[in-house]
Symmetry: C2
Subunit: 303 residues, 2 copies
């Protein structure tokens, strides 16, 4: 039995899995009738629970900004977007509104008003968000644990499959490589009476069945993040070799907002921000998405 089948048989989807899967299916069905290009964007980290009645878990620093920013630019480019994100991670449009929510307002003389400092930005983001929703072009679905993520990703892939080459998967979520298998998990909060050793199993490499069986016709893009740049491109090439998908976007933790490399089986293409672009507040995701829509258009033209 393949490792991923074993994972799905030994873990359980969380309580509202069916409802979320159905919403994805309905969204895909709707956009099938519209002949839309549909992109699944995953964003944010997954958790790895350490106890059955979970108090503690392993997490990842990802806040979901790359996914949320990319969702905005793909919406601008006309795509329908399934934004599959870690609960409470950053989301498209609202990600720009920073700090304490109460500071968006003031209550002078007993009348609540929107602060003038943020009115312009807020107005723009609210309008963009409302427009995307009015056209039914943005579906948000959340996950928390790594099991939750994998069950949802499989479901989403199967719902996207009928869209064929019109479907893009942009797997920017920081998915845990390790997890604690349910039968080895402590039932209760782990006692702090003595030092602790934890053993983690490898999370199955889901890209393999995804590319081979679930969405064989789709345009699949994965991400590779490292803190040691010297191993980054080798890892990206190894991933393409193993999983046979279209593209790996390789990024280094420190420089990820200034430079990424789009790695395909035959090519490497650097996307780099100039100092002028960075100081003008232009985001690298704008350039990444512009290039990806070109590559996807060429892929569609080869039909």
């Amino acid at each position: 039995m393949a490792e991923y089948s074993e994972f799905f048989s030994k873990n359980e989807p969380c309580a509202n899995f069916e409802e979320r899967s159905q919403r994805i299916k309905d969204f895909c069905d709707y956009h099938m009738t519209k002949n839309s290009r549909v992109i699944l964007i995953t964003a944010g980290g997954t958790t790895v629970p350490l106890e059955q009645k979970t108090v503690r878990f392993v997490d990842n620093i990802s806040l979901g900004n790359r996914g949320a920013a990319s969702a905005e630019y793909f919406l601008d480019a006309g795509y329908a977007v399934i934004y599959m994100h870690r609960q409470n991670s950053l989301e498209p449009f609202s990600r720009s509104i920073k700090g304490n929510v109460l500071d968006l307002f003031n209550a002078k003389n007993g009348t609540l008003e929107i602060s003038n400092k943020v009115r312009g930005l807020l107005g723009e983001q609210v309008s963009r968000h409302e427009a995307a929703r009015a056209q039914n072009r943005l579906l948000k679905v959340s996950f928390t644990t790594v099991a939750d993520y994998l069950f949802l990703l499989r479901a989403a892939a199967l719902h996207l499959a009928p869209l064929g080459k019109h479907a893009v998967l942009y797997l920017a979520a920081a998915v845990s490589d390790f997890y604690v298998i349910p039968e080895k998990m402590s039932e209760h909060k782990i006692s702090s009476d003595s030092q602790l050793s934890l053993n983690f199993h490898l999370v199955p490499k889901i890209l393999k069945p995804l590319v081979l069986s679930w969405v064989p016709d789709a345009f699949v893009i994965s991400f590779k993040l490292e803190t040691n740049e010297s191993i980054l491109l080798d890892k990206a090439h190894a991933a393409l070799e193993n999983y046979k998908h279209r593209l790996v976007i390789a990024n280094d933790l420190e420089s990820r907002r200034e430079r990424v490399v789009l790695v395909s089986r035959t090519d490497r293409e650097e996307i780099r921000m100039s100092l002028e672009e960075l100081s003008a507040g232009i985001e690298i995701e704008r350039k990444i998405v512009a290039r990806l829509t070109e590559l996807h258009a060429a892929f569609l033209a080869n039909q």
Copy 2:
């Protein structure tokens, strides 16, 4: 050398530690001149980084709601509040504003307006927040890692000490019991080529020096949370025996919003919510704080 001294010598405070410590000192000095009762409330979980260039960390499910709610009620009771919280955890007043920030507004006909559904709640919370700040009675200071938390807690305790019995420490943060010592930590993101074993050391029990040396005169309250209720009260009593502070608030994960037990060396007092109170939206923190202000007043009267 005591275990906590070793911790402070082997770990480092984070970059803006001095600035945050100074803000706490200024706040304490100001309220010393006002003869205020000052409470330090800690809230939210601490992280345990697994790598030096941190991508992964262990975390705790705490969102900081108990601390944030309690801060509001202590402000209502006239206290000056130092709210020491996990970065991005819930905060007093803003915690009630749930969901996507953009849904607080609508942009009909190009004019941005506050949604009528939330206007009342928002107005109340913005006013309360502005009032607390205008009186300089709310200081917010954030932490992320467990080391960050321990350095800040020590600094805050030392700044509170001159307030004597007027100082209350309400330690509701979910502080990790385990951590990875810096010299054993992987420099780079841990490779996913093979299964993973991690060894954690015990975090020193900071309550001991805190009660004995740093704030010997203050009213110190700690929390104990378990998922297995049968061991909860024994653990609460053991903590009081070990650390000699005033009170442990014992709570079970599942029932923590309906029932807690205030455990002192000589007494156990249950605080329980009725169904009527819960369905009226009354929070257990309101009752906890009401009782604690009585106990603190009695403690002050014994001066």
